[in-house]
């Protein structure tokens, strides 16, 4: 039976299909779908990030003071710091797992553009770790007694800012690939770079509460998000390539 299969294989000299380099969109979709499927297989890791975010935000009222005025003033800052720390949790595994089992190597060598594959991976990472935080932010906001419109500003700011955090993290994760103590190095690299995002993100809600409007802050966050999506793929792809040399 198997001999027959071997003979059939040996007889067939015509190629199955001619390889056609996948386009940018196909490569992005491939990487994003693959990583989302992987994320679904390790749901406990995702749950950890969400639980961490909710725990940190609910620890503050216990530790600081239950004073509603004080908590309302601090709400945006707390949510942003918690989101930043939570987003660091999953970063180390963004490329390290693929690096260890050789799948990243195959991506570097694939006919598809590496920048598109990397962008797909980061998009999947944001959907799996950033988007849940954006969706849970209203809950955290309610805990601190934020008004409905302030919560709206908070959600928009997080939706614009968390992809920037993902891209900063992706660049750092790619740069620290193969380095000893990579994950602690990763936090040291990302945190200083994330400061502007934190300032404008938390500032948007405060400025809105002060009656100044959040447009300026949100515009700057949008600019950051656009810059991250435009520059991030090429820079991360380069860092991944360097890691393989």
């Amino acid at each position: 039976m198997q001999r027959d299969a071997l003979a059939a294989l040996a007889r067939r000299t015509a190629p199955v299909t001619q390889p056609a380099p996948p386009g940018v969109i196909a490569a992005l979709r491939w990487a994003c779908a693959r990583d989302l499927r992987l994320a679904l297989r390790s749901r406990s890791e995702l749950a950890l990030i969400v639980v961490f975010f909710l725990l940190v935000t609910s620890l503050f009222p216990l530790a600081v003071s239950p004073d509603p005025e004080l908590l309302r003033a601090m709400a945006a800052g707390i949510v942003w710091v918690a989101a930043l720390l939570a987003s660091l949790l999953g970063l180390a595994r963004l490329f390290a797992a693929d690096h260890a089992d050789g799948t990243l190597e195959q991506m570097v060598l694939a006919p598809a553009p590496l920048a598109a594959l990397v962008a797909g991976k980061v998009l999947a990472h944001w959907i799996a770790t950033g988007l849940p935080l954006v969706l849970l932010a209203p809950l955290a906001g309610l805990q601190f007694g934020l008004g409905a419109d302030a919560i709206g500003v908070l959600v928009v700011a997080l939706a614009l800012g968390t992809p920037v955090l993902s891209w900063l993290g992706a660049i750092a994760a790619a740069l620290t690939l193969g380095a000893r103590g990579g994950s602690s190095l990763l936090a040291l690299l990302v945190l200083p770079l994330a400061v502007p995002v934190l300032i404008f993100g938390a500032g948007s809600v405060e400025s809105y509460a002060a009656g100044l409007g959040a447009e300026a802050h949100l515009s700057l966050l949008t600019a950051g998000a656009i810059a991250a999506w435009v520059l991030g793929p090429a820079v991360t792809a380069l860092a991944v390539k360097i890691a393989h040399e």
């Binding site: 071997l6 000299t13 190629p15 390889p19 491939w30 991506m107 040399e245």
Partner: protein, 216 residues
């Protein structure tokens, strides 16, 4: 198409590679024509994997040049990447996926559109039909290698195969399958550079390239 008169295969001229600060080999010349394969031998640590990675474009050589069909090969060229299959030690399979998922994803990444029936046939050919839905983490080392064989059996359209110890952990039947695959590939006009310690059961006789003699 290549201009007439140029060599339609893989060529390396005066290639030198290093690991860290240590030069592994220097002035390596290599010539593989379509339908031929070269058996790459050498002691552990002599640079077999480094040579394969360098040709694939993962590492940069210290000196020398690599030519594909008569022109210097550019590692970032999509055409080159579509032609070259590299199968290294970490073969690139995810433990969380099952055999069919892994193979389907890898072939899609390779730019090959393989219908589902063809995919199942490839898995069947390497004797893993019963394990097709099994998570990769539960396969034995030899069965993992067989998935790499299934990938190769769908990759005859990609002309250059760079295989790093493809026979490791394979049983006699698996080795014979590997030999048949290489033979079929050569018949289809492909070429292969295979780092291996044991001779492959192939009909085609390889030329031998030993890295031990090139140590500086």
């Amino acid at each position: 198409m290549t201009p007439t008169g140029t060599f339609d295969g893989l060529e390396a001229r005066a290639l030198a590679c290093a690991a860290g600060y240590r030069t592994l080999f220097a002035s390596l010349d290599l010539r593989i024509a379509p339908g031929e394969w070269t058996m790459l031998v050498g002691a552990n640590g002599s640079g077999k994997s480094t040579l394969l990675r360098t040709i694939a474009g993962l590492a940069r050589p210290l000196a020398g040049e690599i030519l594909w069909r008569g022109a210097p090969r550019k590692p970032d060229d999509a055409e080159w990447r579509a032609q070259c299959v590299y199968q290294g030690h970490a073969a690139g399979w995810k433990d969380a996926f099952d055999v069919r998922e892994n193979l389907g994803l890898q072939l899609a990444l390779d730019g090959l559109r393989v219908p589902r029936a063809e995919l199942d046939a490839a898995i069947d050919r390497v004797g893993l039909a019963r394990q097709a839905k099994l998570p990769f983490a539960r396969l034995s080392a030899g069965q993992r290698r067989r998935v790499s064989l299934a990938r190769l059996s769908c990759s005859h359209a990609r002309r250059l195969w760079l295989l790093d110890e493809p026979g490791t952990a394979l049983d006699a039947d698996g080795l014979r399958l590997l030999g048949e695959l290489v033979d079929a590939h050569l018949r289809a006009g492909g070429l292969a550079l295979v780092a291996t310690h044991q001779p492959l059961p192939c009909n085609a006789t390889p030329s031998r390239l030993s890295l031990d003699e090139l140590r500086p």
